[in-house]
């Protein structure tokens, strides 16, 4: 059973946390692509919950609403192309804003990967985790400014790729002065973008996003 953590206030009322319990990303085939747990659970429980939820969500028809009651939690899910984003929140929380959290996360992924698709997340899932950690910390929205989140990620990226940290001397001056996002554009290039657009038919398209 998912443990809902409650604190007791001075007047004896239980205090509700508006904290996300976990987030799962899975494909239409039910393959888990990303999992983030904000409450401590055993591996066995995690597996059980994942299996149960994936089944339930996949069984829902497209015309149905994006919310579910599940045990004592609320599940908010949304499908983007072939990927389902699924969050568990507490009963008192606001389902509609959780839907926007999912959407913001997708936007962040999209901005970072440039037209994100399921493959990006499969092969670079650790990046997806970094973005998530920068956006939601411990189950709470940490930074809602898109610019700030991506800035933090890109700075860390640069450091990791050894651009700023280790080998600045063998880089072209243009690169060193470029801002992180420009740098990314320069490196990853248009080709990859084109390539993905042509060959991945089920691309997530940012324009179709707002489908309430």
């Amino acid at each position: 059973m998912v443990e809902v953590r409650l604190l007791i206030s001075s007047d004896g009322n239980t205090v509700q946390l508006f904290m996300m319990q976990f987030m799962l990303l899975f494909s239409r085939q039910g393959k888990l692509r990303l999992q983030k747990w904000y409450v401590p659970l055993s591996d066995k429980e995690k597996k059980k919950i994942t299996r149960e939820l994936v089944q339930t969500v996949l069984a829902r028809k497209p015309k149905m609403c994006s919310f579910l009651e599940w045990r004592d939690l609320k599940i908010v899910y949304k499908r983007y192309a072939s990927l389902y984003f699924c969050c568990a929140i507490e009963d008192q929380d606001n389902e509609l804003i959780t839907l926007e959290i999912i959407h913001r996360y997708v936007e962040l992924l999209d901005k970072y990967f440039g037209s994100v698709c399921e493959l990006d997340i499969i092969f670079n899932f650790e990046k997806a985790y970094f973005i998530l950690d920068e956006f939601l910390l411990g189950g709470e929205a940490q930074e809602t400014s898109k610019k700030n989140v991506l800035k933090a990620i890109e700075q860390a990226d640069l450091l990791q790729e050894g651009i700023l940290g280790k080998t600045p001397h063998n880089m072209s001056p243009a690169l060193v002065t470029a801002t992180p996002s420009e740098y990314k554009w320069f490196q990853v290039g248009v080709e990859r973008r084109k390539l993905k657009r042509q060959q991945l038919p089920e691309l997530y398209c940012p324009n179709e996003v707002r489908t309430f």
Partner: protein
């Protein structure tokens, strides 16, 4: 396997070939992962996948422990380990390596913190090894390192080690970079959640964070404030104006553009602030400063259909804080608009409507058709939310329909949690029962649908209700009905009935089957004995059966059966069962003792229970003297056990307390069970335990009051008639009744089918009462009282005091769909005797005196004047005594008495009434 992945795999080589380019290491560093993923994709069976992963894991294991592996390779291995774990394979061997890597690695490998945060959770013991690394990184001069350390700290940190890093985190609150300040605030928030005492001394620093110039830091601090204010709203009232100001600025678009989300300024921030405001403004005058900004938020929400999430929070806030009528109306209207939306997710705003109807059930009327539609929605969650809404507007008139809907839902619901919740609600609503049969039938359904998931307090309060009833006659009828219903249930197939239900049946039959005189106890015993033979019966149920048998004390052939039964079970391994069997054996042989121990009529009286069990003192001291260990209460035992390092927590909390063992678990000392108290336990302890173990609120509601709305008349299609200016004569009223089709509610569109309308009228009955016409609502009026009701017609009336007159308004409400044609209404004043008059006269406090001119038309001036008054005011003359004349003006439940006397050629009128303005008004009419 995934089509998409398969299709796109062909694209992989070209994607991966980009590796050669510098900088796009993103994919190249994962090429081994790429191979792994591709490998998995090509497999056809789960079994093959398992084999492949096991092979992979072996490889990883080998490499991570090899000293030749470079840091970069290690990091890559970790990524692969994470992937394997996501697929559901155990990679616990790599946990320690992840921590080691975080420790040794330079800034390049710090991201391995991610692996740590994914592998381990809060309570993991390996986390202790991380403390040093975190400590080192927090002191680093490299921003990114500090960031990562703070990120991992806010996700999980061993509670006991918080003091070690607290000063460092605290220091970061003053860091020049906002990202660090923000993360520090969030880390402190997490510390606050897991160990509130440790961060108590920095509460004023939180205030500084709230005033931070960076909106990110400020909004992070709101997490803390939301918690603090929930726990102690009084302590933070002084901050309310600041929060209002912040919200004003946010709503006004003062934040940098990049905080906008689809042109909505910082929605997350807004929602946080609204939540905080609703906590601060709850039942408090502080709310006044919030009205303006809430109004503004509402206005914006109305304009932009995409910010329903804010609207929802806003409505919740408006309905939580000290109410302001204008705002409430606006909020209700706003929500109404969105509920009408065809978009499925917005239907979910029904949830917000639930808040609205809690304040004012009448508001549900406006949305009745939407609600009906949602009730039939194919999506269960919408249905469920609608039932929740209906639950809030249930009164004693619509209860049958609503409960029926809920039971329908229960029959198709498969989710345990929903079932438990809904069954509880039905049980609660069942107490509005219109009659006994319905109540028992509904509870039967509750017990059979709820099965053994049922909350134990439901059967408890049901039995309590049966045993404690106000009126003897009703009481007997209800019990008798229950007995009848259970007998017929047991005569049918009882093997499908849930255990809890069987227990309830046993108790009821044991206690009350004697009420049915034609029923032999032997028959009941035989039925009960059948339950004992059923395989599915739990030993707890068997205990209940035996107890019931003990109470029945049959004679004749059944006695032999009882003996057999007690014989069988007195050697049972279950001690409870054995005890019950012993009791049965002894008491069935000694009917005198049985009558003494289990008196039939005594269940009503509270039993004195010596909860300190002082009568056992002698026994205890004897046992202690003989070397027995002294008794320790359970919590002490728990403590001792936990001190001995055994983790018993999961059991500590969830000990199921079964009903049958109630009588024992509640006692102070479990050292000894006395037979006599154990016996009386099931029948009499119920009344005693009420104060401690049973949740009994709501019981009174059923039989005491007439429903929580306490208003009965007026359906939504109520034509109304107003008898204008003073009281009209009966005939005039009758004529007016034909003009009736002034419906206060929008009539449902014609295409709505009849069925829905009927459902609506049965669901929303009882909600619209007291809806006096708008033009009257501003005036003071008396309570609307039901005069009479017949078939589909209710007639009710109230007095309305206008400036210059008192008006009796008669409502005629039509409960059916057919139109009213002609109704004659006759108004009769009540007759009153002189004595009654005298008594009333003294009781009324408001009086007025005035002299009036007499009318001289040739007859006796007094009689003539009275005649005129009588005609005009519908007076009822009580008695005329020579000089003093007593007249009485009587109106329904608001009498006004009039005392007239001839005095010096004038009529001295003296009026008295319980209502202050009434005499003045009448006097005005007299002139």
């Amino acid at each position: 396997m995934s089509d998409v992945v398969e299709k796109t795999l062909t694209a992989l080589p070209s994607l991966l070939s980009l590796d050669s380019q510098p900088g796009s290491a993103k994919l190249s560093s994962n090429s081994k992962l790429g191979n792994l993923i591709r490998g998995i994709t090509e497999l056809t069976s789960k079994h093959e996948e398992e084999k492949l992963i096991q092979r992979e894991l072996l490889l990883i294991k080998e490499q991570v422990s090899s000293p030749n592996t470079t840091m970069r390779q290690m990091k890559e291995l970790m990524v692969r380990a994470i992937y394997c774990e996501m697929l559901g394979y155990g990679v616990s061997f790599s946990y320690i390596h992840a921590i080691k890597l975080a420790q040794q690695g330079n800034v390049l490998e710090k991201r391995v913190y991610l692996a740590v945060s994914l592998f381990l959770n809060e309570g993991h013991e390996l986390l202790l090894l991380l403390v040093n690394t975190v400590l080192k990184d927090l002191q680093s001069t490299n921003l990114i390192e500090v960031c990562m350390a703070l990120t991992v700290v806010s996700q999980m940190f061993p509670k006991d080690m918080i003091p070690a890093i607290l000063p460092l985190v605290e220091e970061k609150l003053n860091h020049p970079r906002e990202i660090i300040r923000r993360k520090a605030v969030l880390a402190l928030y997490k510390f606050y959640l897991i160990a509130p005492n440790q961060v108590q001394h920095i509460h004023n620093k939180f205030r500084k964070a709230l005033c931070d110039k960076d909106p990110g830091v400020m909004s992070a601090s709101l997490h803390i404030y939301l918690q603090l204010i929930q726990e102690n709203p009084e302590g933070y009232k002084d901050l309310a104006p600041s929060f209002v100001t912040i919200l004003k600025q946010v709503v006004g678009g003062k934040l940098p553009m990049d905080f906008n989300y689809h042109s909505v300024p910082a929605p997350w921030l807004q929602i946080h602030l609204l939540r905080i405001l609703s906590l601060l403004g709850k039942n408090d005058q502080t709310s006044e400063i919030m009205y303006e900004i809430l109004d503004e938020s509402l206005r914006r929400a109305e304009m932009n259909h995409n910010i329903t999430y804010i609207l929802y929070e806003c409505v919740k806030c408006i309905y939580t804080i000290h109410p302001k009528s204008g705002l409430l109306e606006k909020a209700a209207k706003c929500i109404g608009n969105f509920v009408l939306s065809p978009k499925i997710n917005l239907k979910y705003l029904l949830k917000a409507l639930t808040y609205v109807v809690q304040q004012d059930p009448k508001l549900a009327l406006q949305h009745q058709m939407t609600i009906i539609e949602c009730l039939d929605h194919s999506d269960l969650i919408i249905k469920r939310e609608t039932l929740e809404l209906l639950f809030r507007i249930t009164n004693d008139q619509n209860v049958t329909v609503i409960v029926e809907k809920m039971l329908d839902f229960l029959r198709i619901s498969e989710d345990d949690h929903t079932t438990i919740d809904l069954v509880g609600k039905v049980a609660e609503l069942a107490e509005y029962a219109p009659d006994n049969e319905w109540f028992i039938d509904t509870m039967n359904t509750v017990f059979s649908l709820g099965g053994d998931l049922l909350q134990p307090d439901i059967p408890n309060s049901f039995l309590k209700l049966l045993s404690e009833f106000d009126s003897v006659e009703e009481d007997k009828k209800l019990r008798l009905f229950a007995v009848n219903s259970y007998i017929s249930l047991l005569q049918g197939d009882s093997s499908k009935l849930p255990q809890r239900f069987l227990q309830v049946i046993c108790w009821v039959l044991g206690e009350y089957s004697h009420l049915r005189e034609d029923l032999e106890p032997g028959v009941v015993v035989r039925l009960l004995a059948k339950l004992l033979d059923m395989k599915s019966s739990s030993s707890e149920t068997k205990c209940w059966v035996l107890m019931a048998m003990t109470k029945l004390c049959p004679g004749g052939a059944a006695l032999a059966l009882v003996h057999d039964v007690s014989e069988t079970y007195s050697s049972s391994l279950d001690t409870m069962l054995r005890q019950r069997a012993q009791e049965l054996q002894i008491l069935s042989q000694d009917s005198e003792l049985q009558a003494k121990v289990l008196p039939r009529s005594a269940s009503m009286e509270p039993v004195e229970v010596d909860s300190s069990l002082s009568f056992l003192d002698g026994f205890v001291s004897e046992a202690l003297a003989a070397g027995a260990a002294p008794y320790k209460p359970p919590h002490q035992r728990q403590e001792e056990l936990s001190r001995s390092k055994l983790n018993l927590e999961p059991y500590g909390l969830s000990l199921p307390i079964s009903i049958s063992s109630c009588s024992i678990t509640d006692r102070q000392s479990p050292t000894l069970l006395s037979i006599s108290s154990g016996l009386s336990g099931d029948s009499t302890d119920f009344s005693h335990k009420g104060s401690t173990a049973l949740k009994l609120d709501g019981v009174k509601r059923l039989w005491g009051r007439d429903g929580y709305l306490a208003q009965k008349e007026q359906t939504e299609e109520a034509p109304r008639i107003e008898a204008a200016s003073a009281v009209r004569s009966a005939d005039q009223l009758g004529d007016n009744n034909a003009l009736n089709s002034q419906t206060p509610n929008p009539t449902p569109s014609p295409e709505c089918d009849q069925e829905k309308q009927q459902l609506a009228s049965s669901l929303f009955v009882g909600l619209a009462s007291q809806s006096t016409p708008a033009e009257l609502s501003a005036l003071s009026h008396s309570k609307v009282t039901l005069l009479f009701s017949k078939q589909n017609l209710d007639v009710s009336a109230c007095h309305v005091q206008k400036e210059d007159s008192v008006v009796l308004v008669v409502f005629i409400s039509n409960c059916s769909d057919s139109f009213l044609h002609q109704i004659r209404l006759q108004v009769d004043s009540e007759e009153l005797e002189t004595e009654e008059y005298g008594a009333m006269w003294l009781a009324f406090s408001h009086d007025t005196k005035q002299n009036l001119t007499l009318i001289h038309d040739g007859r006796d001036p007094l009689a003539a004047t009275l005649d005129v008054l009588k005609r005009k005011l519908q007076l009822h003359v009580v008695e005329i005594i020579v000089e003093a004349i007593v007249a009485c003006c009587l109106q329904q439940d608001q009498p006004c008495l009039m005392h007239c006397r001839m005095h010096a050629g004038m009529l001295a009128v003296w009026l008295r009434s319980p209502v202050p303005d009434l005499p003045d008004c009448l006097l005005y009419c007299c002139q």
